[in-house]
């Protein structure tokens, strides 16, 4: 039985009828065509699907779309403003914080949460903050550098 939901996504209001079992990540990807949010596993381990929901980073494969009803979602597509990359996106680019890019949107959204809570994180705090996001390409060093670079940029 489809249910009507209203969700703010990247500042735009969306109203749809969705099946109750539709995962939030499938809603974003297949109903709204926001395919920047990726699916990397089926046990909530990899973090590729991380989005910002009502002010907190969540794994969008662990939520139903109906649970987002009335809420506010920010995805990687919504980070840049007026064509200007977000400092975290710049950090990933400048520090070579990505290779295949598949984990990157989730990494960026987890980093977004970190820098919101802690604008000046230590290396250890960065590593801890992205511990729920798996990357198989980079060995994490350049991701850590990317987040540190973004933190410096935001302070400057």
């Amino acid at each position: 039985m489809a249910r009507a939901i209203t969700v703010m996504v990247n500042g735009e209001k969306h109203q749809q009828e969705v099946e109750p079992r539709l995962l939030l990540v499938h809603y974003l990807r297949e109903v709204l065509a926001l395919t920047g949010t990726h699916i990397g596993c089926d046990t909530s381990q990899c973090g590729a699907c991380t989005v910002f929901f009502n002010g907190a980073a969540v794994k969008s494969c662990t939520m139903f779309a109906v649970q987002a009803d009335g809420g506010d979602v920010l995805t990687v597509e919504g980070l840049a403003t007026n064509g200007e990359l977000h400092p975290i996106q710049e950090g990933f680019w400048e520090e070579h914080g990505l290779q295949c890019g598949f984990c990157t949107p989730g990494m960026i959204m987890s980093s977004y949460q970190l820098l919101k809570d802690n604008p000046d994180p230590s290396e250890e705090q960065i590593r801890h903050a992205i511990d729920g996001n798996l990357c198989r390409c980079t060995g994490y060093q350049h991701i850590v550098n990317a987040v540190a670079s973004a933190a410096r940029k935001r302070k400057a």
Binding site: G40, T43, T75, V76, F92, H96, H128, R136, C137, G139
Partner: protein, 771 residues
């Protein structure tokens, strides 16, 4: 090379803007009109006869358009291919979807095609399959015993092949030995786990009879030829596109059942069909890596000189040969002697079937295994003789003056200076200081250790004659009439960054702005020919093809400009994008102007064709052999067995660097995978062939908090094999790392009399060893 401004610089990647904004298109992001979704029912047994399949309930489930079983796939498709590459190989038919028997957990036995992925998954539950379980063999050494259950009864044995390489006089070496050291070692089975699982979209256009397949693959051109053969289509009626690919590490270097089944399904239902592998499927259905047992014996002189090496390597192949399954363990055999001048060798490889997922290439494919064995043996030799492991390495190194050096296994190493990288790494590590402090630490009850790994490996794969499949690569460079430059490459990068590094090369050679260059790859309709991305071949082979094209284009531009300036080509200068007669730099034409003239095609020299384009194939004369030294420093908690890597130092030599930023990224990612094998990762099966570590919950991929900061440096020893002098760096980190970490751990426990511990060094295992 030309004046290098771009080449050698840490240029940030041109791929990244689309990837950091969510604008890239991976397979699962593709949505075609009326596209259907495929879900696969997979075998729950590791070895069983299929006695009945009833799909009638699934067929009438909501949204289902078709259900396909093995009979239909067998009618439509030939078995999956293997490149073989080993003499006397036993090759079982490998149906994409088995008809009457499954040989490992997770083989697809039925496919549902439905209007969306939820409907397809729902209908899987309605398919009834009756199995008659057969005896299962999981342990590779038990599989070799007489009376073992047989994976393929028709062969009468599970041994798929034996392969041998010999050099020198091994018997004499063992007679001359002061001491013989022996060690059994394992390289546990790993699961590659690129963050993007595999995925396929297949579309059949009935009108012209064209099949288009988008696949998350490292080898679009090989896939195109293979699909044509398997499905009985003309090769020029098949197009394969590798869109954005989310990592591969060797496990997407293959021709997979699902690629065939999705194509069969698309042709059957007359609509596009998408299949995207779930992670838990990926654990069962995508090839695994490593899985070897090695018996190693070294004959050693009193001073630590290794006189001879006898290796018996048992490769667990799993149940079938995928593309390079048989070849991978032979790479270990070929690389048995590592960086050492060991003249006497016997290396025997036995490839064995078991009821498990097929093993195939995984980052390093045979070389990490070989490096691990020889680097552990060197440490064991040092322990036996009371020598420092670094001294034993130095005593046995192939000296820099000995290159090109032919190994006892018949490989010819192109170039190397192993001492250079070793010395730098020891300096960075403060090796002697650590050794001094280790004494005090031990007195204080702390278990600290340092491990060295000096490796070389096979890159730039490779000469066609030395491979079971073609080893060339192709490229095209086209200066458009507007002066923009299009580079086509048969390589298929998926994270390695050749859209940047190839553009750097073209920018320097042609003297055009890098932003005017586009590098295209991965689509067989755009790039006519290619081999693909594996074995660190993008730069060393694909880059060399690109250089050949650039030389040809520059030559044509020079000849045309000379004609237009009424000068001789030999009197022309081509510098930074400008062409002029020597001494007349003020009267130059730009490459853009020359290209425009080439397309305008008025007043060309009589023998000159219009256009400004060149295509080349580079066939390498040899592999390349990068090398380096990795050093790990670890501490093991005597109470818990927990191991921590305190510092990690890597000095790698991949020849001449094109983009050091990308090289650092490759090395770091490689190290993390090597550490993963050393400490965390392991595919664990029970005796019925059920995969116990079958999800990311149970299989420990390293996270950011589980790996150290890497301290990197490089030396530069160019290769003569290609014009750039670049060797390749994709596997280096993985190859260096696992031996360095295990050597460090064993060093930390050596005062307890520990000489070897098999990977992965999980806490409970180390604690047992300590106790």
């Amino acid at each position: 090379m030309a004046i290098s401004r771009m080449v050698g610089a840490r240029i940030k990647r041109r791929e990244d803007p689309r990837l950091i904004t969510g604008a890239a298109t991976y397979v699962d992001d593709i949505k075609l009109y009326d596209m259907q979704y495929m879900a696969l029912l997979r075998s729950v047994h590791a070895h069983a006869k299929i006695t009945r399949i009833d799909v009638s309930k699934a067929l009438v489930a909501p949204g289902v358009v078709a259900v396909i079983t093995g009979e239909e796939v067998r009618r439509a498709a030939a078995p999956l291919p293997t490149a073989g590459g080993v003499e006397g190989l036993k090759v079982p038919d490998h149906d994409s979807m088995p008809v009457d028997k499954v040989c490992h957990l997770g083989q697809p036995v039925a496919a549902v095609i439905a209007r969306d992925r939820y409907a397809a998954r729902d209908a899987l539950d309605l398919i009834e399959v009756d199995y008659e379980p057969l005896p299962v063999v999981v342990d590779v050494e038990k599989a070799m015993e007489p009376g073992s259950p047989l994976v393929h009864e028709q062969f009468g044995s599970n041994i798929a092949y034996t392969w041998l390489v010999e050099g020198g006089d091994l018997e004499q070496a063992f007679k001359d030995a002061h001491v013989v050291v022996k060690q059994r070692m394992t390289n546990q089975r790993l699961i590659p786990n690129p963050m993007e699982t595999r995925g396929v979209v297949a579309q059949y256009d009935r009108g012209p009879g064209n099949l288009t397949v988008w696949s998350s693959t490292q080898v679009p051109h090989i896939l195109r030829s293979s699909l044509a053969t398997i499905l009985g289509l003309a090769e020029n009626k098949v197009r394969v596109v590798a869109p954005e690919v989310g990592g591969g590490f060797g496990c997407k270097l293959n021709i997979y059942a699902e690629e065939v089944i999705a194509a069969v399904a698309a042709m059957r239902v007359g609509k596009p069909v998408k299949w995207v592998e779930e992670r838990s499927e990926s654990f069962l259905a995508t090839t695994h890596g490593r899985d070897q047992v090695a018996y190693c014996e070294a004959a050693v002189a009193k001073d630590g000189t290794i006189l001879g090496l006898r290796m018996k390597l048992i490769g667990d192949l799993g149940a079938f040969h995928q593309l390079f399954t048989p070849a991978v363990p032979t790479f270990s055999g070929l690389m048995s002697t590592g960086v050492y001048k060991i003249a006497n060798l016997r290396s025997e490889v036995v490839g064995v079937f078991t009821n498990k997922t097929p093993v195939d290439a995984y980052r390093g494919a045979g070389r990490p295994e070989a490096t691990y064995y020889v680097e552990r043996i060197v440490d064991i030799v040092a322990d036996e003789l009371g020598l420092d492991p670094v001294d034993v390495r130095r005593r046995n190194f192939i000296p820099p003056g000995a290159f090109p050096y032919t190994t006892a296994s018949g490989l010819t190493y192109d170039s190397g200076d192993y001492e250079l990288a070793l010395k730098r790494a020891l300096e960075m590590a403060g090796y002697q200081k650590f050794k001094d402090e280790q004494v005090k630490a031990r007195e204080a009850g702390r278990y600290v250790g340092i491990g060295v790994s000096t490796y070389t490996e096979i890159c730039g794969i490779g000469p066609s004659a030395a491979l079971p499949a073609a080893g060339w690569e192709s490229g095209t460079v086209r200066v458009e009439s507007s002066g923009k430059v299009t580079v086509l490459t048969g390589s298929s990068p998926h994270g390695q960054g050749q859209e940047t590094s190839f553009a750097q090369m073209a920018a320097d050679e042609l003297g055009v702005p890098i932003d005017d260059i586009v590098v295209l790859h991965g689509d067989t309709a755009v790039v006519a020919t290619g081999v693909g991305t594996f074995g660190s071949r993008n730069m060393a082979v694909g880059g060399a093809a690109l250089m050949m094209c650039l030389v040809k284009v520059k030559d044509k531009a020079t000849r045309l400009a000379a004609h237009m300036m009424e000068a001789l080509p030999d009197d022309m200068v081509y510098s930074e994008g400008r062409l002029y007669v020597k001494g007349h730099a003020d009267k130059a034409m730009t490459i853009q102007e020359v290209a425009a003239a080439a397309y305008r095609a008025v007043g060309l020299p009589p023998e000159m064709e219009p256009g400004m384009e060149a295509t080349s194939f580079f066939e390498p004369s040899n592999f390349t052999f990068p090398f380096g030294t990795h050093i790990a420093m670890v501490e093991i908690d005597p109470e818990t067995g927990d191991i921590t890597i305190q510092r990690y130092i890597a000095v790698d030599d991949c020849g001449r660097p094109i983009n050091p930023l990308l090289i650092d990224g490759q090395v770091q990612g490689g190290i993390a995978q090597g550490i993963g094998q050393a400490l965390y990762e392991e595919a664990v099966y029970d005796d019925q062939g059920q995969l116990l570590s079958g999800s990311l919950l149970d299989y420990a991929l390293p996270t950011a908090a589980m790996v150290p900061t890497y301290e990197l440096d490089r030396t530069e020893t160019p290769t003569p094999v290609n014009p750039m002098g670049a060797k390749g760096v994709g596997e280096a980190g993985t190859i260096g790392a696992s031996a360095a970490v295990v050597n460090a751990a064993v060093d930390a426990l050596s005062h307890l009399g520990v000489r070897h511990v098999d990977k992965p060094l999980k806490s409970e295992k180390l604690l047992r060893v300590i106790q």
